[in-house]
């Protein structure tokens, strides 16, 4: 393994002295092997995510975007190539608990109260009870669920459960956020509200983020950069030209945004026809 050159990114303006992180894919290929068939899911992916960048991966279903995310999470091993997640000079062994993961699906433990769900990651790290209480309370408040600490997941609405999942991810204070369509199962209004809130939370911490979504507008609203995938490859690598902090409610109706959204749409269309940028 060759020592990698640390990349300095102009966009990263992390306020605190947090660890410098980076993520690198080098010629990554994944073959999905089952009893019935063997399929090439992604082929020869090479890209780099510099410290504090929010990258969105978009593409049609089956294009391999979730596999990319799962490979970063360590849930899927690449057949060929190298995936490297770094925190300062340390190369993480995947899966690592310094990466936080969030799903579209509801994944709170149903027998634990919201509070105890948010504490879970801290509990398994051996943090003291008082410490976890305090930390969980802080993040529950941050996602707007203060007052619901003692409720079980079944007593929460879908939107509230996703807020709980977000609080659980934030509570372990991971260096990377990995998100797989976290808001896709929500109704349109709840989704818009949560995108705005998440965007603000993200801007206050600027952790390196890989965000998979099929919603192009969402990618444009939240991310610094969008990878548009065709079947198993990166067709376009686009920089999102909007400044931070972003007010999503205004941004989404500006002509510049709509133009970019349209551009993204065209790129996706072309990617699905097998073209590359």
């Amino acid at each position: 393994m060759t020592p990698s050159v640390p990349t300095v990114c102009a966009q990263a303006t992390a306020s605190e002295q947090q660890a410098r992180t980076g993520l690198r894919f080098e010629h990554v290929t994944h073959w999905y092997v089952s009893d019935r068939d063997t399929k090439l899911v992604v082929e020869d992916l090479t890209f780099e995510v510099p410290d504090g960048q929010f990258i969105a991966i978009v593409g049609g279903s089956g294009c391999g975007k979730t596999t990319v995310l799962n490979m970063v999470a360590g849930l899927v091993r690449p057949t060929e190539g190298l995936i490297e997640a770094r925190v300062d000079d340390e190369v993480l062994t995947l899966p690592s608990n310094r990466l936080g993961y969030m799903w579209a699906r509801d994944s709170l433990l149903p027998w634990r109260s919201l509070q105890r769900n948010v504490e879970f990651g801290l509990e398994v790290r051996g943090m003291s009870r008082a410490g976890r209480r305090e930390r969980a309370a802080r993040y529950i408040t941050m996602v707007g669920l203060a007052g619901s600490e003692r409720k079980f997941p079944r007593q929460l609405s879908h939107g509230m459960r996703q807020r709980g999942n977000l609080a659980r991810l934030l509570a372990t204070e991971p260096e990377f956020y990995l998100m797989d369509e976290p808001f896709s199962a929500l109704d349109a209004q709840t989704k818009a509200v949560m995108q705005q809130e998440f965007s603000q939370i993200w801007e206050s911490r600027r952790r390196t983020t890989v965000y998979v979504t099929h919603d192009l507008t969402e990618a444009a609203l939240l991310a610094d950069r969008v990878l548009v995938m065709g079947a198993g490859y990166i067709a376009y690598d686009l920089v999102v030209p909007f400044e931070r902090p972003r007010g999503l409610d205004e941004l989404r109706f500006t002509p510049e945004f709509q133009k970019f959204d349209r551009h993204l749409w065209d790129c996706l269309q072309r990617a699905q026809r097998g073209e590359r940028g």
Partner: protein, 300 residues
């Protein structure tokens, strides 16, 4: 609609029904009153239905017991004293033989409880071991399946041979049934735990051991409890069955004796006791379950 109207007095209906074509709502004061009326109506309907059902249930029992009593007294049932008994006779028998029945009921309850505790305890432990190490489960699978498909009552002679006519024999027979019921439910319970939850937990940093203790174990509880409820009945079955084959004390022995002595009232008395014992056992289990499973969505 009509069903609702039946339960709401006229003036409340008038308050509830909105005049057609009106777009702006009535004043807030009026709304409180209407809300209260709607709530009362729904609650009253629910209460009435519950009362009706309870009433019908009691009526059914009264009709069954009453016709039995009448048929027995009027001779519709021939030689009722020798063959069919009658409810009043059963009550009389329970009273007359109370100290004898009490002793034997305790013997049965004690053995059933012991059989349940040992069988369920070991079933849960082995089931969890299998869940934690699947290789273990696969290795034991054929043996367990063969043992579990044996009609276990047929093991009674073996236990009697080894341990004599003793509590040990009855308890073991109960254990041999209970163990497998609980084992298979525990395995199913472990399997029922959403694999996504396990993945989430390990991504959050939980070790395999922590995943097992904090995710698999609590997740398996509902299915394990379903097994425990069954197991309780099977434990009674095992003990009473064993007692019917050979025993010094116990209700299983009594039921055989009374049957052979042409004392139907005695047989029914024993059955009544067994029914009460089973009901108490399962009520206790249900109370524990309700406490443990507060997080479950309500089912009924």
């Amino acid at each position: 609609m009509t069903a609702v109207h039946h339960t709401i007095p006229d003036e409340e209906v008038a308050a509830t029904a909105a005049p057609a074509g009106r777009t702006s709502g009535p004043p807030a004061l009026d709304r409180d009153r209407r809300m209260e009326a709607a709530r009362k109506a729904v609650r009253r309907g629910k209460r009435n239905r519950t009362l009706t059902v309870r009433g019908l249930q009691v009526l059914l029992v009264v009709v069954i017991l009453g016709s039995w009593e009448i048929m027995s007294r009027t001779g519709v049932l021939h030689d009722a004293n020798l063959f069919y008994g009658r409810p009043s006779g059963v009550v009389q028998f329970l009273y007359d033989e109370r100290s004898h029945l009490w002793t034997n009921a305790w013997a049965t309850i004690y053995a059933a409880f012991l059989g349940f505790a040992i069988g369920a305890g070991s079933g849960v432990v082995v089931g969890l071991l299998f869940g934690r190490w699947p290789l273990l489960e696969r290795t034991f699978d054929p043996v367990m399946n063969v043992l579990a498909s044996l009609p276990r009552l047929a093991l009674a002679p073996l236990f009697l041979l080894w341990f004599g006519i003793s509590d040990m024999s009855k308890v073991l027979l109960a254990v041999s049934i209970v163990f497998f019921v609980v084992l298979f439910n525990t395995i199913a319970g472990v399997r029922s735990v959403d694999s996504e939850l396990r993945t989430v937990a390990s991504l959050l940093g939980a070790s395999p051991r922590q995943v097992f203790l904090k995710v698999v174990l609590p997740g398996a509880v509902p299915v394990v409890f379903a097994g425990l409820r069954l197991a309780l009945m099977f434990s009674m079955l095992g003990v009473v069955g064993s007692e019917m084959i050979a025993a010094r004390t116990g209700l299983g022995l009594d039921v055989v004796t009374y049957g052979q002595n042409l004392q139907p009232n005695g047989v029914f008395a024993v059955l009544a006791i067994l029914a009460v014992v089973a009901a108490v056992f399962s009520a206790v289990l249900r109370a524990i379950e309700t406490r443990l499973l507060r997080w479950m969505p309500e089912q009924h």
